[in-house]
């Protein structure tokens, strides 16, 4: 290693740097996983940790679309909310076991994603964001008026039940490890997708859509599949969240949540794997910590973080860290 830094031809250096970066990030991931595994034993409030993990899944799903495909959906809360309501209703009113409730909620979110995706991919760029926002608002109004959602009160008192009729989810620790397992699976799934040939095409679309078209890729189909994947995973997050907290309300489908997931991804670092997770924990932690202390100023603070991120911190935590390491190595 010392020889390559001394008489560095630049490709060597690049390989060296990226190998080292990969090593760092692998250790960081192991450390993060260790913290998450140990969390219930070191006094972290389990419901908070589970909620944060659900939003981490949500942000990872969103990042698949924004970070790796370059599509800004401004209505992702709708899918989370749809799944939350469907799961809540099935488990509470139809007395389905939680695993089937979660499965059905996730599927409904994917279906909504398919329908709305078909409409939204007809416009590019900033219009895509406006269309997804408008369609999400439509779903929100449907939930506001539909008889099964409980209107302004939402669906309250959804029981956790037993997973596969065996594992008692009433126990916070059991549920925590179930949620953690799902989160790890989603995290690995997103990495797998991005590194697959399909993920490479998505990146190509993000970087230069006309070129991807001229290379013969049916861009719309790739984008639609990415949209459906992302909304399905967002639905999974919503379903799990209902099981964890035991209720589904209108705020699950509100546009402000759609904005928050953008912020989580942006703050952590869009287009990075760990970024959305860090962003989700930061925002959820901040909201939890500040909720009793600042009242309605929480929105002002979230808005201010948004402004600062966009103006001065567009790479996010992970992106900035990576850039800093590359600068240091490059010297």
């Amino acid at each position: 290693m010392s020889s390559s830094t001394a008489a560095s031809s630049s490709p060597d250096l690049a390989r060296d740097t990226s190998a080292e970066l990969a090593r760092y990030s692998r250790w960081a991931l192991y450390a993060g996983l260790a913290v998450l595994l140990a969390a219930p034993f070191v006094g972290l409030y389990p419901v908070f940790m589970m909620t944060a993990l659900c939003f981490a899944i949500f942000a990872c799903a969103f990042n698949l679309l924004l970070g790796f495909t370059g599509l800004l959906s401004f209505g992702h809360a709708a899918y989370l909310g749809a799944a939350a309501y469907v799961t809540g209703w099935l488990v509470k009113q139809a007395h389905l076991p939680p695993e089937l409730g979660v499965l059905a909620g996730t599927a409904v979110a994917g279906l909504c994603g398919l329908v709305i995706g078909l409409i939204a991919i007809r416009r590019q760029g900033i219009y895509f964001a406006m269309v997804t926002l408008a369609m999400a608002q439509m779903i929100y109004f449907v939930f506001l008026q539909a008889p099964f959602t409980g209107g302004e009160d939402g669906l309250q008192g959804v029981p956790r039940g037993k997973l596969f009729g065996l594992l008692p989810l009433e126990d916070d620790r059991v549920l925590y490890y179930v949620v953690l397992a799902v989160f790890v699976a989603v995290f690995l799934f997103v990495i797998r997708i991005v590194h697959s040939p399909y993920g490479q095409v998505l990146k190509a679309i993000r970087e230069n859509e006309p070129r991807a078209i001229s290379l013969g890729y049916d861009v719309d189909r790739y984008k639609l599949l990415a949209f459906v994947l992302s909304t399905t995973l967002a639905g999974l997050a919503g379903s799990l969240k209902t099981v964890v907290v035991g209720f589904a309300t209108l705020s699950d489908a509100h546009w402000s949540l759609s904005g928050e997931v953008v912020l989580m991804t942006l703050l952590g670092g869009m287009g990075t794997f760990a970024g959305p997770v860090i962003g989700a924990f930061t925002i959820i932690g901040l909201q939890n910590f500040l909720a009793d202390r600042v009242g309605s100023w929480i929105n002002v603070i979230i808005g201010a973080i948004f402004v600062v991120c966009v103006v001065a911190f567009r790479r996010g935590f992970v992106g900035e860290l990576r850039a800093w390491q590359q600068r240091r190595r490059g010297r």
Binding site: G125, M135, V307
Partner: protein, 294 residues
């Protein structure tokens, strides 16, 4: 007298209400389109600026005794000045990056504005009384026309057409349109483009505030009134396409009418009808009714 089993008075009343809403859609989507044309930014804060306009009028009346007519001038100036400051300090830094960042930044600004007004005034609505000269109603024989609502429709159509004239028929408007096409070239001809951009954003903000003042007597003034409206206006903009000024005015008014009609015949769907129309238009004509196909 009845139309489709509905008393004509109620029918026309809803239509007028729809037209009033349509006037606000038209004014807001016009401002959005002008800002987007020159700055390439979708201004999420437009709803918040509209809300601030209404609050400026309300605070002016309650605290300083500024009457409605003066507010029509004061609120756009105050909010326009806020817009100029926002453009100079924040938006200016985003012209070189992807347009989605402009949307995100203005979204953050909207959250800030909403939070501050919520903290100051709470979530319950404030009401603003109709100015005396416009209170009451005129009996037209077939319906009773509330004077203020008629004024809102009239005033906003005048403002919209005035804006259209300014942009399409004057020298200043020609600079503006040229700046939309090719800012570097316009700059080379000696037009101070950065100042023009700044004033455009200020004017767009002022237009939103003016809509807010006009709206103040017919709605409850709440901190959230802007965001709820702006999402519908986004749909209006997608339906109309941002290409044409007259197009966005017409689309705004027409969608307000459609919404009013839906309230008469199928009230449950009135809050989603605009979005449904947007979905249909996107399937048939993705560039919007008046948009140019690429």
């Amino acid at each position: 007298m009845e139309i489709f089993g509905i008393p004509i008075q109620a029918f026309l009343g809803q239509l007028l209400l729809g037209l009033v809403n349509g006037s606000f859609y038209a004014m807001l989507s016009l401002g959005l389109a002008v800002i987007f044309g020159l700055l390439g930014i979708v201004n999420f804060a437009h709803g918040a600026l509209y809300m601030i306009g209404a609050y400026v009028a309300w605070i002016g009346l309650e605290k300083f005794g500024i009457n409605y007519w003066a507010s029509l001038l004061v609120a756009p100036l105050v909010v326009g000045a806020i817009g100029v400051v926002i453009e100079r300090t924040l938006l200016k830094q985003l012209y070189k990056v992807d347009p989605i960042y402009g949307l995100l930044l203005t979204f953050g600004l909207a959250l800030i504005a909403e939070g501050v007004f919520r903290d100051q005034f709470g979530v319950s609505g404030q009401s603003y009384s109709v100015p005396e000269a416009l209170s009451g109603a005129t009996n037209l024989g077939f319906m009773v026309l509330p004077n203020y609502r008629a004024w809102v429709v009239f005033a906003s159509i005048v403002v919209c057409l005035g804006t259209w004239f300014l942009i399409e028929r004057t020298r200043l408007g020609a600079y503006l349109r040229a700046g939309t096409e090719n800012p570097a070239l316009v700059q080379a001809f000696g037009v101070n483009v950065p100042v023009m951009v700044m004033l455009t954003y200020g004017a767009g903000a002022g237009l939103a505030a003016l809509a807010g003042v006009l709206a103040a007597p017919v709605i409850q003034i709440t901190p959230l009134m802007g965001s709820n409206l702006i999402i519908v206006v986004f749909a209006v903009v997608v339906i109309g396409g941002m290409g044409s000024i007259l197009g966005s005015i017409l689309t705004g008014l027409a969608l307000g009418l459609v919404e009013g009609l839906t309230k008469v015949f199928y009230p449950e769907a009135s809050s989603i009808v605009v979005f449904v129309i947007m979905a249909i238009v996107l399937m048939i004509r993705p560039a919007g009714l008046f948009g140019k196909e690429k």
